[in-house]
C-alpha cells in the first residue's frame, strides 16, 4: 500500500514539475526595436549600422494579456558580424547573446550567423487595466565597433518566463531564410552528388558509346550479309502487293479494253469463283401450285430438308456408311487414275528418250 502511495505521488510531483518547468511564452501585440516596429503578420525587421556608428531609439512592446510576470524577451538576430554582435545598452534591460551553432540565415544569398538574444527586463510594466494592454518601454542604444557596415535582422520575438538555454533553442524557427549548417551541407552535398551523377552519366555515356561502336563493328559482317540478301530479294522477288495491283491493273486496262473478247476469261474466272464458293444445300423449296381455273391451291409452298430425312434413325447409320464408302471410292478412283497417268507418262518419256 505504501509503495502504491509513493508511486502515485511520485508521478503527481513529476507531472506538476513537468508542467511548471515548461516555458510559457506570450506573443507581442506590438514589438518595437530601435524604432523599427514589427508589422502585423511579419516577424522580421532589419537594422543597418555604418562603420563605428551607433543608434539610439525605442525598445518597447505591447502585450494584450499579461497575467503573470514574464521577465525575459527572447528573439533571434542574424548578423554579418562573425565575432560579436553589436552591443546593446539599456538601463532597463540586460542583453545576453548566444551564437546558435551550425545555424545560418540566408539573407538574399548572404549567409549570416544566427544569435539568440535574451533581454532580461529590469523595469516595470505599465498596464491600462490590471494585466491588460501592458507596455514595457525604454531607450535602446546599439553600437557598431567595427570598421565596416553591419546588417542585422531581428526575428521571432517572444515574451517568456524562463531563461533561454541555447542548447534547448528550437532551431526550426518558422522564418524564411533561416537554415542550419546541416541544411547548407546537405545543399552542398546535393550539388556534389548532382555533379557526380552527371560525371557518372558522362562516363556511362562514353562507355555505352564505345560499347555500341564495338558491338556495331562485331555485328557489321552479319548485317552486311543480311543487307545483301535483302537487296537480292528486293531485286528478284516482287513485293506481296505487286501481283494484286498488277492483276487489277491488267484487268482494268486489258480485259476491259478487249470488250467481248475478254468475256471467255471473265466467264472462266466466274466459274472458278462459283466453284470455290459452292455451298452444300440439302433443302428443296417446293412452290405453291394452284389450279389455274378456279385458283384453288393444290400444293402449299413448303421446304423439305433431305439431309434431316437421311440422317434420321436407322437410315442415318446407313447414310453415314454410304458417304464414307463414296468418299473412299472417289479417292481410290483418283489414285488409280493417277497411277495410270504416271505409267503413261513414264512410258512416253521413255519412248522420247
Amino acid at each position: 500500500m505504501k509503495k502504491i502511495f509513493y508511486v502515485f505521488f511520485g508521478f503527481l510531483f513529476f507531472f506538476m514539475f513537468s508542467v511548471n518547468s515548461k516555458a510559457e511564452t506570450v506573443q507581442f501585440k506590438e514589438f518595437t526595436f530601435l524604432g523599427e516596429t514589427f508589422p502585423s503578420g511579419q516577424n522580421t525587421i532589419r537594422i543597418g549600422l555604418g562603420a563605428m556608428q551607433s543608434k539610439s531609439s525605442s525598445f518597447s512592446f505591447l502585450v494584450s494579456d499579461l497575467t503573470e510576470t514574464k521577465p525575459f524577451v527572447n528573439f533571434y538576430m542574424a548578423t554579418n558580424n562573425a565575432m560579436v554582435p553589436q552591443t546593446f545598452e539599456n538601463a532597463l534591460a540586460v542583453f545576453t547573446f548566444k551564437k546558435i551553432p551550425n545555424s545560418t540565415y540566408n539573407d538574399n544569398g548572404y549567409f549570416l550567423d544566427v544569435y539568440v538574444v535574451q533581454a532580461h527586463l529590469l523595469g516595470s510594466w505599465n498596464c491600462s487595466v490590471q494585466g491588460r494592454n501592458c507596455t514595457y518601454g525604454s531607450i535602446l542604444t546599439m553600437k557598431n565597433f567595427f570598421n565596416y557596415g553591419t546588417s542585422s535582422i531581428i526575428f521571432s520575438p517572444v515574451l517568456t518566463d524562463e531563461m533561454l538555454d541555447v542548447n534547448d533553442v528550437n532551431l526550426n524557427v518558422d522564418v524564411t531564410g533561416m537554415i542550419t549548417q546541416q541544411q547548407q551541407t546537405n545543399q552542398k552535398l546535393d550539388v556534389i552528388n548532382d555533379q557526380n551523377t552527371e560525371a557518372e552519366n558522362t562516363r556511362k555515356g562514353i562507355w555505352n558509346t564505345l560499347k555500341d561502336v564495338l558491338t556495331g563493328v562485331i555485328e557489321l559482317p552479319g548485317k552486311l550479309i543480311s543487307l545483301l540478301i535483302d537487296a537480292l530479294k528486293s531485286l528478284f522477288i516482287p513485293s506481296s502487293d505487286f501481283f494484286e495491283d498488277f492483276i487489277n491493273a491488267f484487268k482494268d486496262n486489258f480485259l476491259d479494253k478487249l470488250g467481248f473478247l475478254s468475256y471467255p476469261f471473265e466467264l472462266i474466272a466466274d466459274i472458278f469463283d462459283r466453284y470455290m464458293n459452292i455451298a452444300t444445300n440439302s433443302v428443296i423449296e417446293i412452290p405453291q401450285i394452284k389450279e389455274p381455273f378456279t385458283g384453288g391451291v393444290l400444293i402449299e409452298a413448303t421446304s423439305v430438308n433431305l439431309k434431316e430425312i437421311f440422317e434420321y434413325g436407322a437410315i442415318g447409320t446407313i447414310y453415314g456408311i454410304y458417304r464414307s464408302c463414296v468418299s473412299v471410292l472417289i479417292i481410290v478412283m483418283f489414285l488409280n487414275f493417277a497411277i495410270k497417268k504416271y505409267d503413261e507418262f513414264v512410258k512416253n518419256k521413255g519412248g522420247d528418250n
Partner: protein, 92 residues
C-alpha cells in the same frame, strides 16, 4: 525489283498498243444473261449433290484430277522455262 521492272515495261508496252486500238464493245447482255442463268441454276443447286457425293472431297479431287491429267503438258512447260536459264545447263 528486276522482275517488277520487266513486268511493268511489258505491261506498259501492251497498254500502249491497246490504247492505240479502239475500245471493243462488251458482249450484249442478251447473250450473257442466259449463260449467267444457266450458271446460277447449276451452282445454286449443285449443293444438293452433297447428299450423294461428299462435295468437300469432290472440290479437292477435281483440281488434282485436272493437274494429273495434264501433267505431261505442265511438265513440258516447266522444262521449257528451265531450259531457257543458261546457268542451270539443262539441254534436254
Amino acid at each position: 525489283m528486276i522482275i517488277e521492272g520487266i513486268l511493268n515495261i511489258v505491261t506498259s508496252l501492251l497498254y500502249f498498243v491497246l490504247n492505240l486500238l479502239p475500245d471493243i464493245p462488251d458482249l450484249p447482255e442478251a447473250l450473257t444473261s442466259p449463260i449467267t442463268t444457266v450458271l446460277d441454276l447449276i451452282f445454286n443447286n449443285v449443293g444438293l449433290l452433297d447428299l450423294f457425293l461428299p462435295l468437300n472431297i469432290v472440290k479437292l479431287i477435281i483440281p488434282l484430277w485436272l493437274i494429273v491429267d495434264n501433267f505431261d503438258k505442265i511438265y513440258s512447260i516447266v522444262f521449257w522455262i528451265i531450259k531457257k536459264i543458261p546457268i542451270l545447263g539443262i539441254e534436254k
